[in-house]
């Protein structure tokens, strides 16, 4: 997938927009970011990272758009089960405790109870029973960003961003209603196309085969080897 810088997309939009000022060019960068947030996510934007909790808080990466899944580990790398809860405060008392057992060879086996995990806009919040969590592996949908933290625009999103800038510029200039409506309909159509393109690009051939295999496995006496 080819990506474009935010400045390149803004510059292209300026070539098809009239009465553009420097202030419009500045604000257009923000308009592009707004347009991107309305165009859905794609699986090639999934990123995995490892984070360290501090005071039971795990700061989400700056480019985090949506958390896909996470896994908690202790300092030895053992998986600690967790339950995701809505909200960031527990309303029921925590009755679960960590259990330590010794096996036949005399080795201590530590069994962790399920820890509470919740999230807010900026952080993943670990419950008070999660003091043994040393690191969190996070899989999340990311905004593709460049080295300066500026969003990058996929090639199938570019045209929609250009139309969104034209739409916002028409609203800013308080143009006549027909012009604003035309710009809006162009943007909405381009946005739909971009969303569809992103969804279809997420579904590669291998994934489609896997889904088909699962579906076909439910059919009795079906010879999957010929599929």
């Amino acid at each position: 997938m080819q990506y474009f810088s935010i400045d390149e997309v803004v510059a292209e939009a300026m070539t098809v927009t009239s009465n553009v000022t420097d202030a419009d060019r500045l604000i257009a960068r923000q308009w592009v970011a707004s347009a991107l947030s309305q165009m859905g996510m794609s699986e090639d934007e999934i990123v995995v990272c490892e984070l360290t909790p501090k005071n039971l808080l795990v700061r989400k990466p700056d480019n985090c758009r949506k958390v896909y899944e996470l896994a908690c580990y202790d300092s030895s790398g053992n998986l600690i089960p967790h339950t995701f809860r809505a909200g960031n405060k527990r309303i029921y008392p925590n009755t679960e405790t960590r259990t330590v057992t010794t096996n036949s060879e005399g080795t201590q086996i530590i069994t962790y109870t399920t820890v509470d995990v919740s999230e807010d806009r900026f952080n993943i919040i670990l419950g008070t029973n999660a003091t043994s969590v040393a690191k969190v592996k996070l899989r999340y949908y990311a905004y593709p960003v460049d080295n300066d933290g500026m969003p990058q625009i996929r090639e199938d999103e570019k045209q929609a961003c250009v139309y969104y800038i034209r739409f916002c510029k028409a609203m800013k200039d308080d143009d006549n209603q027909s012009k604003i409506q035309l710009a809006e309909s162009m943007w909405l159509r381009a946005c739909d196309i971009a969303r569809a393109a992103k969804k279809s690009s997420s579904l590669n051939n291998d994934k489609a085969k896997t889904i088909a295999k699962i579906m076909n496995s439910m059919i009795p006496n079906f010879n999957r080897s010929t599929f």
């Binding site: 935010i6 000022t21 202030a23 060019r25 500045l26 923000q30 300066d148 500026m150």
Partner: protein, 232 residues
């Protein structure tokens, strides 16, 4: 390109009917002063009308100030007020609509610095992707000073800017051989207006003979010239 001496000489010759004299009442410095303010007025009108029509600023007016070094503004207060970083131009900038007197500002690396008015800076600072940063420099102008937002004080020795601008021209300060930035469209009007003003000084204005309160601006020749005295 036409020089200052050519403009002044042409006006002088027209006013004095091609008979300049050392004893003439008309000082060349006065002609230069009239030419300056008519020139700036005409250039402003021409550029404003072109901008309104979506046309480019005529390149003849655009001047470049290269590698301007920055400085921090001295503030009177002793608090930790944010010191503003500015670059100062040598010339005054012509006052054109939408502050288009500054045509383009680029850093020495070639990155463009975008313009923002002082009043819009407040909300631009709140926009995450539009706010001024080292990679997204923004300027606002106050007089000859161009204030850069997004630049840090430590970057001043390393960052220089090039400014393309339309200068306010002062013919009094020019040497005779210096070129005057004037387009072919404006030059005839400039000379006409300077000559008209010169005629007003040399020959006076028409008296309000009809007593209708209308100030007749058309210059008329002095009585002595209009109706030369017959031999006594």
């Amino acid at each position: 390109m036409i020089t200052k001496a050519q403009i002044i000489s042409d006006c002088e010759l027209q006013l004095l009917q091609a008979s300049p004299s050392d004893e003439t009442e008309l000082d060349q410095r006065q002609l230069a002063f009239w030419a300056s303010y008519h020139l700036n007025e005409l250039v402003t009108t021409e550029i404003n009308s072109k901008i309104a029509r979506g046309e480019m600023i005529p390149s003849v007016y655009v001047k470049r100030a290269a590698c301007e070094a920055g400085d921090t503004e001295d503030t009177d207060c002793e608090d930790d007020c944010q010191k503003r970083i500015y670059f100062e131009l040598d010339d005054e900038v012509l006052t054109i609509n939408k502050d288009m007197g500054i045509v383009r500002v680029v850093t020495s690396e070639g990155d463009q610095v975008l313009r923002a008015s002082t009043e819009t800076l407040d909300y631009i600072h709140l926009l995450r992707y539009a706010k001024p940063t080292v990679n997204n420099l923004v300027y606002s102008r106050q007089g000859k000073r161009i204030f850069i937002e997004g630049l840090k004080e430590v970057d001043i020795p390393f960052d220089k800017i090039n400014v393309y601008y339309v200068p306010k021209q002062d013919l009094l300060a020019l040497n005779d051989t210096d070129e005057v930035l004037v387009s072919d469209l404006v030059l005839p009007s400039l000379i006409d207006q300077v000559v008209s003003r010169g005629k007003l000084e040399l020959y006076g204005t028409q008296a309000d003979g009809t007593n209708d309160g209308i100030d007749e601006k058309t210059p008329v020749y002095h009585q002595e010239i209009a109706r030369p005295q017959t031999e006594q």
